[in-house]
Amino acid sequence: MKISRLMFAGLASLCIAAPALAAETTETAPIPQEGVGTETYPGIPSDTIEKLGGPAGIKIIVDDLFYYILDDNRINQLFISHGKVERQKALNTELVQLVLGGHKQYEGASMSAAHGDLGITLTQFNAVVEDAYLAFEKARVPYSVANQIIAGLAPFERDIVTR
């Protein structure tokens, strides 16, 4: 009896809070500060960069990611047509370190500035995520560590996917 009343109160307040919360989920995800990283729930462990083999290991993973992206017929045309793959590799190597809390300068554009005009779909975004898992596997990154990177980059989905 008590539990069900409590649950009802919970559900009712959830419904009232829904519009406010819904608005919040469309917030943009800024590039995190140096040494802070993306604030996730729970947080990203401080030894993640180390577990990935440091900046050199991250560079290898990002290179592999672009190898899989350029092999992936679902999305490769877009990357090829923009012709900036080498720049993207370098910037993504910086960005991954940054979201994991590393002390690394990121010298590229914000995610909304870089992707806002590309009309990227969630389907295309997920394709990149699937390619990322392939790159993690190739570099023998344990799945649980791979998910730290995914956690750090995931909020950018709100800025990158515009359709």
């Binding site: 069900s4 649950m7 919040e24 389907t123 995914i150 995931a154 909020p155």
Partner: protein, 352 residues
């Protein structure tokens, strides 16, 4: 109508739903078709047919579609318990990762327990017949009583992003409903249920916590079901729906394997006696020690219908976006007349 034609009709119904779905998917191949979700993030199919875990609906929409299109699945679940076997088969579609529609047919051959009750009531009937009283219709045949239930489901994702919003605690939220039609009216009367068909509504919140590779789902279901409706709805006191809590936790071992556990609160609507109604006379076994005695000598001392909460521990494999295999140990406790109904659960889901 004999059992075989009944079976054929049920299968026929399922096939026609399937045909309709394939027609939809055929029409959709023009561009609406989509399988863009990341592997495993479509979840599996629960015994009521909705996308979720095994016994609890999640806020995720079934199928591998993103907001860019539609997808669907067919599913079959087999639960083997000491006294029962549940077969659950159906179809579901996910539309733009926003709306989910599902249909499932549950069939539960009850095995030897009900055979005993069936024989007992046949014996009682014969005795009553001798006294000139019209026969009891308990809905329990001497052998092979099968409970059948059709479950129609709909779910709408309200707001929230279960997967990518790792920087806030806002979950994905969905509301849904089931309409369940149990076709064994007479049996449900015997067992004391108030109704043989009813609706349930629920709200689910689901969130993936990427840094710990863990998914958590919480569901509140407003229902009066006894054993999800397989034993009808409500009890001798009427059909009183209440909110019941359900929860799932899943840990992702790798991108294609999840392990976890689930809990679903059940209610005790039927704790009491079997209701045997004869010609308008309510031969409730609590008020009728003779009948209760007659039944219990024939069935043993466990004529209790105390219902237990359901629990399970599972492992789910996602070898591709077209197939998932879930295996679980289901701990369902007391079911109708039989205690300790713990057994295994296997569920297959094919997405197209």
């Amino acid at each position: 109508m004999n059992r075989r034609t009944k079976n054929k009709r049920a299968i026929g119904r399922q096939l026609s739903v399937l045909a309709a779905l394939f027609a939809v998917s055929g029409a959709a191949s023009a561009g609406i078709y989509n399988d863009g979700k990341v592997l495993a993030t479509g979840g599996v199919s629960m015994t009521d047919g909705a996308g979720g875990g095994g016994i609890t609906p999640w806020a995720t929409i079934t199928g591998y579609e993103t907001r860019d299109g539609i997808n669907g699945d067919i599913h079959y679940t087999y639960v083997h318990l000491p006294s029962y076997d549940l077969n659950s088969g159906g179809v579901a579609v996910g539309l733009w990762d926003r709306v989910e529609l599902s249909y499932t047919n549950d069939s539960l051959p009850t095995g030897s327990t009900y055979d005993t009750v069936g024989l007992a009531t046949t014996t009682v009937n014969t005795a009553l017949g001798g006294l000139g009283v019209s026969a009891l219709d308990t809905g329990i045949e001497p052998f092979n009583t099968t409970v059948r239930m059709n479950v129609f489901g709909a779910k709408v994702r309200v707001f929230g992003e279960a997967i990518y919003d790792s920087d806030n605690l806002i979950p994905q939220v969905a509301v849904g409903a089931f309409y369940k039609v149990n076709s064994n009216k007479a049996l449900l009367k015997t067992l004391g249920a108030d109704k043989s068909k009813d609706f349930e509504i629920y709200a689910s919140v689901t969130k993936i916590f990427f840094p710990i590779s863990t998914l958590i789902n919480l569901t509140g279901r407003y229902t009066s079901a006894n054993q999800t409706g397989l034993v009808g709805f409500g009890g001798p006191d009427g059909n009183h729906r209440t909110f019941r809590f359900e929860g799932s936790i899943a840990y992702l071992l790798n991108k294609g394997t999840a392990i976890g556990a689930e809990y679903a609160m059940h209610k005790n609507n039927l704790d009491g006696a079997l209701n045997l109604k004869v010609a308008g006379l309510n031969l409730d076994t609590t008020n009728n020690p003779v009948l209760a005695g007659a039944l219990s000598t024939l069935t043993g001392p466990t004529l209790s219908q105390k219902e237990s909460d359901w629990r399970d521990a599972f492992i789910a494999f996602f070898p591709s976006k077209n197939l998932s295999i879930t295996m679980a140990y289901a701990m369902l406790g007391n079911i109708v007349l039989t205690p300790h109904q713990d057994g295994y659960y296997i569920s297959l889901q094919a997405s197209f």
